[in-house]
């Protein structure tokens, strides 16, 4: 029998306001093994921890239960406390009476009853705890960055500068991401390409960075410090080492019917193309779905004109296997689907465009060479209407409940740039709220209103339609003036909500990293660990974690890099001792556990066993404890109950259930 101390935390009023902590203390005093119980205002504080240490010494405790917040918050803290007092850290159990109890209940009696039950369960478990010793594992000194936008590039550069090898995997043919598509950046209006392309080049030339463009992560196995990753390098049908980026093939390609993604499909590109002039690597790629050679077996014009002999129609996808110590997810965002908002006529009228499309129209390298033109008739517009929050802050099924954060600023930017370049154009902006916190941001917006006379109207647009003059009529409300307004305009620009890039769900499940209901990756702690995923060794950089602008993205990318460097700087990592172990006499070698193990930690051996005097060779499961992460999937899958998890044994779990149901 253990000698158990129970420590009930008030967490200020977080717990004590809803749970009668004194009653919890009284209720657990008679539980088997409990020799001491006490409550305290802040158990995690130095004084609280000292209280635990003193009690351990005074009452010769062998196990402790802390009734407090989630173990994700302070389990590590209290384990250290126990260790200081000389008992094994795995003799500590946390009863979560905050997140699982006080925060979600209103009725004090009910919450108190539940807190007592949770405490009893933890006491029942700790009675069966055994001291555990953690092992060690090595760290592969190489980092993987998934996504080559500004977030991925910045994280890569920072890690590489610290002296570690970094690989960037980017699924499109060039790095640069969304920022490369932007014309100017707020709030300073410097050109995006001028500040991004030098970083792209630096990443490409850095001795510690390897770029895998036109590549995707195929699978991820392993765990923190020891990830085994397969990268699929898709066939470009162009030899990267031979191609000089002269772009002759791209001008000669006769298959030019398909849209140019870089220009938001506002113009077309050839089947062989370089995404844009400053692409890194500056290497052509053949889109086999559009290439006449792949479709008909004829053509091959690009092959004929390529003086470097770089065209390789027979190139195959290639799988690269590499080991990494840490992974940074920097998968970024995409513009959400505005076709669901047909009151704006985006699908029906070419003069209704998204802000990203306007970005390309305003760009000197864009489809109109930087001249602002209506896409319907290529004429100069006289009026432009911007609609903000298209799909953002929208609780209906077609929208996103969150604020996309960047739209107020880029809309102010667009409005200002247009008024600056074309003073004859009237610019109207419809908004719900203008949200411009950030250094020099509100000043920027005020400048658009006061200096550039941009007409900001609080209210939403209900309908856009083509009128008898061949222009667009915008039907809207002006909430401040409390009137309905009809505006005639030439273009409507929609500030569409941003959402995590497609495919992020697959990446998240490969990494066993969690995502929220909007598919943004979840951070380990929203305030204190914002760049770490709850999965050890996986870090978050940029918009994949939540909407943010370029300065914020770059800061977060740097923060993620620091975390990676901190991890890679270690030679050894302490491993979790709570690993699975099979009972050889009960195992029947069925492979159920191997199939469910996400870490590839289980294999099988032929081994002689002595089953009550009967000696025979059997096929038995074997767990590699260096790989096992203690998820417990195998213990549940095992049909004969042979698999058990240290620290969470079947007996312990059943004891908890019994205590709860008592």
């Amino acid at each position: 029998m253990q000698r158990i101390g129970v420590f009930v935390c008030w967490c200020g009023s977080n717990i004590a306001a809803t749970v009668d902590v004194a009653k919890v203390v009284e209720s657990v005093k008679g539980e088997p093994g409990v020799c001491f119980a006490q409550d305290y205002q802040y158990m995690c504080s130095e004084a609280g921890q000292q209280l635990i240490i003193n009690a351990i010494h005074e009452h010769k405790l062998t196990g402790i239960v802390v009734c407090s917040c989630s173990p994700r918050m302070h389990e590590a803290t209290f384990r250290k406390t126990a260790e200081k007092a000389g008992i094994n850290p795995y003799m500590v159990e946390i009863a979560n009476i905050r997140e699982h109890c006080s925060w979600i209940h209103k009725d004090k009696d009910e919450a108190t009853e539940k807190a007592v039950i949770l405490a009893r369960a933890a006491i029942a478990k700790v009675n069966l705890n055994a001291p555990l010793q953690p092992g060690e594992s090595a760290v592969t000194k190489r980092a993987l960055i998934i996504g080559g936008g500004i977030a991925g590039i910045q994280s890569a550069l920072d890690i590489a500068d610290a002296g570690y090898k970094v690989d960037i995997v980017e699924r499109s043919a060039t790095i640069g991401g969304k920022m490369a598509q932007l014309d100017k950046t707020f709030p300073t209006l410097d050109c995006a390409a001028c500040i991004l392309t030098p970083k792209m080049v630096e990443a490409a030339q850095h001795p510690n960075i390897t770029l895998y463009t036109y590549s995707e992560v195929e699978s991820v196995k392993g765990f923190v410090g020891n990830f085994d990753v397969k990268i699929k390098k898709k066939a470009r049908f162009v030899d990267e080492n031979k191609c000089t980026g002269c772009a002759v093939c791209t001008t000669k390609c006769p298959s030019r019917k398909g849209g140019n993604e870089f220009n938001c499909n506002l113009d077309n590109r050839g089947a062989v193309y370089i995404p844009f002039a400053q692409a890194v690597p500056n290497v052509a790629v053949i889109d086999s779905t559009r290439c006449l050679h792949f479709k008909t077996g004829k053509c091959g014009l690009c092959e004929k004109v390529c003086s470097a002999g770089a065209i390789k129609f027979d190139q195959q996808d290639e799988i690269i296997e590499e080991k990494y110590g840490a992974i940074v997810v920097a998968t970024g965002f995409q513009i959400s689907d505005v076709t669901k908002f047909d009151e704006f006529q985006y699908t029906k009228h070419p003069d209704v465009i998204t802000s990203l499309e306007l970005e390309r129209i305003m760009n000197a390298a864009g489809p109109t060479k930087g001249t602002l033109l209506r896409m319907s008739n290529k004429e100069h517009p006289k009026d432009i209407v911007f609609v903000q929050c298209v799909g953002s802050r929208d609780n209906t099924a077609r929208g996103k409940c969150y604020c996309s954060k960047i739209c107020c600023m880029y809309t102010a930017k667009h409005a200002m740039l247009i008024r600056e370049k074309y003073p004859d154009v009237n610019v109207h902006v419809f908004y719900i709220d203008v949200r411009t916190p950030g250094k020099n941001f509100d000043e920027f917006y005020r400048r658009a209103v006061e200096q550039y006379n941009v007409d900001y109207i609080k209210g939403m647009v209900g309908k856009v339609y083509e009128n008898e003059n061949g222009r667009l009529t915008v039907q809207a409300v002006d909430l401040l003036a409390d009137r309905r307004i009809m505006l005639e305009t030439d273009m409507v620009v929609l500030a569409a909500a941003i959402e995590p890039s497609s495919g992020v769900k697959d990446i998240a499940s490969m990494l066993t990293a969690s995502i929220d209901t909007n598919n943004f990756l979840t951070e380990a702690h929203p305030k204190l660990r914002p760049v770490e995923s709850p999965t050890a060794g996986v870090f978050l950089s940029g918009v994949c974690q939540g909407p943010k602008d370029i300065p914020e993205t770059v800061s977060q990318a740097g923060a993620a890099a620091v975390k990676v460097v901190g991890l890679l700087a270690k030679d050894k990592l302490v491993t979790n001792p709570c690993t699975a172990t099979p009972n050889e006499l009960m195992c029947n070698g069925c492979s159920s556990c191997e199939r469910v193990c996400p870490y590839g930690a289980i294999d099988y051996v032929e081994k002689e066993v002595n089953d009550h005097g009967k000696r025979e060779v059997r096929r038995l499961a074997r767990v590699n404890s260096a790989l096992c992460q203690g998820c417990g999937a195998c213990t549940v899958a095992c049909p004969s109950g042979a698999m058990d998890l240290k620290g969470f044994s079947n007996r312990q779990i059943m004891a908890e259930v019994d205590a709860i149901c008592k």
Binding site: F341, D342, E343, T347, K348, K463, Y465, E466, N467, E468, T473
Partner: protein, 259 residues
């Protein structure tokens, strides 16, 4: 296929064509519409008041009659469909209304929104299928440029009506294609015609209806179809009458050769 059928009062008076052609076309499509014996006026306006049930009772009676026959209930007038569908949702989701309506009506078994309410157009789309209709058309209306006018009651509130995308509906355009004609899409097809205002402010109704017709004309329509007796009246009487307005069932009957 046999359905319970709720025609509604206007279809017995001002909008006889909507009803008669609807029945003929249904017959030609092999559908039996069984008119409910005991239907009463739906009230034409969905009562939003939560504290009274009197104006909902006729809908509940019709819904319960269809339930007794285990048949979906087909409506055809936009207003009837709007009212009956929303009352049915109340019977399903609003415990308070359902309890009081059932207490008053005293059916053998309380009505809880079991009946499926479908509009005639939904029946064409979801039960029969526009492809099947296309095959049964003997007299395709080739070359006719037809503007579909939805009005407001079929589409909104979209979450409850579940009829079509309220901003970009397609069901009537698909219908027009199925009978061999060319649909004309125009901006005001899903705007209110002002019909309810015609008694107390005729100029307002004229303005709203005029916009609908002008918008359809701008896109080259030769005629307008609708499912709503009130819209039809308004688009005819409160405009310059430059575009003919007919019920969609009339064109369906024509295309099926049963007019």
């Amino acid at each position: 296929m046999t359905y319970s059928y709720f025609p509604g009062c206007t279809l017995k008076t001002k909008a006889k064509e909507l009803d008669s052609y609807g029945r003929k076309a249904a017959e030609a499509l092999g559908v039996t519409l069984e008119e409910l014996d005991d239907w009463q006026c739906c009230g034409a306006v969905y009562p939003m008041a939560k504290d009274e049930i009197a104006t909902k009772l006729s809908s509940v009676r019709a819904l319960n009659s269809a339930k007794q026959k285990s048949q979906p209930l087909v409506t055809i007038c936009s207003a009837c469909h709007h009212v009956i569908k929303l009352v049915n949702n109340d019977m399903k989701n609003d415990e308070n209304i359902a309890l009081r309506a059932n207490n008053y009506l005293g059916f053998d078994e309380p009505y809880k929104g079991e009946t499926e309410v479908i509009h005639y157009l939904e029946m064409l789309r979801d039960k029969i299928g526009f492809d099947t209709i296309k095959q049964k058309v003997v007299n395709p209306l080739k070359g006719r440029k037809i503007a579909a006018y939805y009005g407001c009651m079929l589409l909104r509130p979209s979450k409850e009506m579940q009829f079509d995308d309220p901003e970009n509906p397609t069901i009537m355009e698909d219908f027009i294609r199925a009978i061999g004609a060319e649909p004309v899409e125009y901006a005001f097809r899903n705007e209110c015609c002002g019909g309810y205002m015609t008694m107390n402010d005729k100029s307002l109704a004229q303005k709203a209806a005029g916009k609908v017709v002008a918008s359809a004309k701008l896109k080259g329509a030769d005629e307008i179809i609708t499912a709503c007796p009130l819209c039809l009246y308004n688009l005819k009487q409160n405009t310059d009458g430059s575009l003919p307005v007919t019920f969609f069932t009339e064109l369906l009957a024509e295309a099926l050769g049963v007019k």
